[in-house]
């Protein structure tokens, strides 16, 4: 178990270092930063001044090492646009994005796991076909469009939920549903196929031969084995939700990290862009690690290998 943990941790650290390097390089690929910060009316002198002020005149290697050294202690510099510390900017907005992501994942799991199990148990029936059709529609529907539809129906016509902002928990319901919708198809398909495979396995036949109750056969013996791919993908989906909530945050005017990333990209605020990319990547890595640990808890064979 300890070797398993250490190996996973080592991989996670390697990936984190790669991301650190990539997020630095990506922001330098988009041309001379000093020129874009200075704006279209700036003189040569202004650009030179900005270049010196932000340390952009130093060799790339020095800039890189400087950035890595600071990032390691949580110092991402100051935003060019907001004139605030980048770390503070992210810390302010992270709770909104995290809440949204967790609400989205929660809804997704609550919907997809029971439906996936139901479809597997009734494989080939109209229930199964209906569930798979919903999955197909869900996969095909763009999330901004679904968001707008929900706003019109639940927000404007029925008046049940607020359509934008972050004032109360109700503000998270609609965006949560929209985010969940994008994750539900994959999670549901995986639950279904995992359960179908588990239910046709020899150990389920043994469980039936032992006269166990249906609940125990499905919930204890089949689900635990079917859950392993679902856990892995749920972690990836949560990562997508946190990093990819840009569209949703924009549609529902939630000022989370996704919205911040979008703003800073359009303003060429590269310290913020770098930092957001890095932080989201680190969260992603953390989630993958968490999924590995959960799976090791679910399946003893993974602990041994």
């Amino acid at each position: 178990m300890l070797t398993f943990l250490l190996r996973r941790l080592a991989v996670a650290i390697l990936v984190a270092m790669t991301v650190l390097t990539l997020s630095f390089m990506l922001t330098r690929l988009s041309g001379d930063l000093a020129i874009s910060i200075a704006g279209p009316n700036a003189t040569q002198e202004d650009v030179a001044l900005i270049r010196a002020a932000y340390g952009l005149d130093r060799p790339l290697v020095v800039q890189y090492l400087d950035w890595v050294g600071r990032a390691a202690v949580g110092d991402f510099g100051t935003s060019y646009f907001f004139r605030e510390r980048v770390a503070d900017l992210i810390a302010q907005r992270m709770p909104i994005t995290l809440t949204l992501g967790l609400v989205g994942l929660g809804i997704a799991l609550l919907v997809s796991i029971p439906l996936g199990i139901l479809a597997a148990v009734r494989e080939g029936s109209w229930v199964d076909r209906g569930v798979m059709l919903v999955a197909l529609v869900g996969q095909a529907m763009p999330s901004f469009w679904l968001g707008l539809l929900l706003m019109i129906l639940l927000g404007l016509q029925l008046g049940w939920l607020p359509i934008s902002g972050t004032g109360s928990w109700e503000h998270y319901v609609m965006p949560g549903i929209v985010l969940a919708f994008s994750a539900i198809p994959a999670l549901m398909r995986l639950t279904r196929s995992g359960m179908i495979e588990a239910l046709s396995s020899d150990y389920i036949r043994t469980a039936r031969a032992k006269g166990l109750s249906r609940l125990s056969i499905l919930g204890k013996h089949a689900l635990r084995n079917a859950a392993i791919p679902v856990v892995s993908i749920a972690a990836v989906q949560l990562g997508f939700m946190l990093g990819g909530s840009i569209v949703i945050e924009t549609v529902f005017a939630l000022h989370g990290v996704g919205y911040l990333a979008w703003e800073s990209i359009s303003k060429n605020d590269f310290p913020v862009v770098q930092a957001v990319v890095l932080v989201l990547a680190l969260i992603y890595i953390g989630l993958t690690l968490l999924a590995d640990l959960l799976n090791a808890a679910l399946d003893p064979r993974l602990r041994a290998s």
Binding site: D202, T206, A207, R208, A209, L212, H221, L298, P300
Partner: protein, 326 residues
């Protein structure tokens, strides 16, 4: 009253293929009844049908199907699951995959007693350890905490047997329990089953294609061919005077040290078990049978060749004797 009575069992899959076509057999209390035959002849399906463990889409019909006097045909799934694991238990051919990889041996064994007897966890664990010791597993207390992947195939099959015995069943259905194991382990498992039967008075329905095993452990043998029991007899009787041409062919396929000479070719039955279309009449073996006659295409009589010795053939019961005399 037999412990298990099966008469006219039919199993079809999707209405097209008939896997079992009117099979009959009975298991007495304290008896080992071996069901033998080639792969695909319907042995396993018969066993699964008895336990009501057939895959979805399979249809089971029978003229009689009873366990200890109780008619199994009309039991609900819930009522059947109350019997399974408690009074009738089953072990399978695949020890490597028949245990759930995600749970410890202890968890999988104790849940049987907890389910059927409502036993508290500690007492169930005690019983599990006791049974592991009974099937010859050393350090049973430690094994209870282990996972299936930490055990060898032989150990896993012992665990399966011990698990099947948790509630002191009256009937044990064993579907080729030793096929996946190497020969030394095979012998151990068979000795174990024989011992358990002697001590516990267990009725065993043992499915196998290995006639060596049959000769060692069976009280009674039923030979299955293409979904029918074509011959059934006490073991000694069957080996000494087989009546059905298929049984004779099967016995000739087994080399007997000392009896078969070195350069003598081993017997074989030409052809394979045919697929039987619906509405098939007559003897299913007739295409492979050296004694096939036009009468074989008609309904085949069930004949008696001695006490408890039945066979399904158009040949007269004493045909073998007459053939030898001629």
């Amino acid at each position: 009253m037999s412990l298990l009575e099966v008469r006219g069992l039919r199993v079809t899959f999707g209405g097209r293929t008939a896997a079992v076509r009117g099979a009959s057999l009975s298991v007495e209390k304290g008896e080992t009844h071996c069901l033998v035959g080639e792969s695909g002849c319907g042995k396993s399906v018969t066993a699964l049908a008895v336990m009501n463990l057939l895959a979805r889409g399979a249809r089971r019909e029978a003229e009689a199907l009873s366990f200890a006097g109780q008619d199994l045909r009309h039991l609900s799934d819930r009522e059947m699951s109350r019997l399974r694991g408690d009074r009738m238990a089953m072990i399978f051919q695949e020890p490597m995959t028949s245990l759930n990889p995600a749970y410890t041996i202890g968890s999988q064994m104790t849940e049987v007693l907890r389910r059927h007897r409502g036993a508290p966890r500690a007492r169930a664990a005690e019983r599990a350890a006791e049974l592991l010791a009974r099937v010859g597993i050393t350090a049973p207390g430690m094994r209870l905490g282990q996972y299936p992947h930490q055990l060898s195939g032989g150990l896993r099959q012992r665990v399966m047997i011990a698990m099947a015995l948790m509630c002191d069943p009256e009937l044990l259905v064993a579907d080729e329990p030793t096929t996946a194991l190497d020969v030394t382990v095979q012998a151990q498992i068979l000795r174990l089953l024989a011992g358990l039967q002697r001590d516990l008075g267990l009725g065993i329905l043992l499915i196998t294609h290995d006639l060596g095993i049959v000769a060692r452990v069976a009280d009674r043998v039923s030979v299955m061919y293409a979904g029918e029991v074509v011959e059934s007899a006490p073991t000694a009787q069957l080996f000494a005077a087989p009546r059905h041409p298929y049984t004779r062919g099967l016995l000739r396929c087994v080399p007997v040290p000392g009896k078969v000479r070195r350069d003598e070719p081993l017997g074989s039955i030409p052809g394979v078990v045919p697929r039987i279309p619906p509405g098939f009449r007559g003897c299913a073996f007739r295409d492979r049978c050296p004694h096939a006659a036009p009468a074989c295409a008609e309904a085949v009589p069930r004949q008696e060749a001695g006490p408890g010795h039945e066979f399904l053939c158009t040949l007269p019961p004493d045909w073998a004797l007459r053939e030898r005399a001629a």
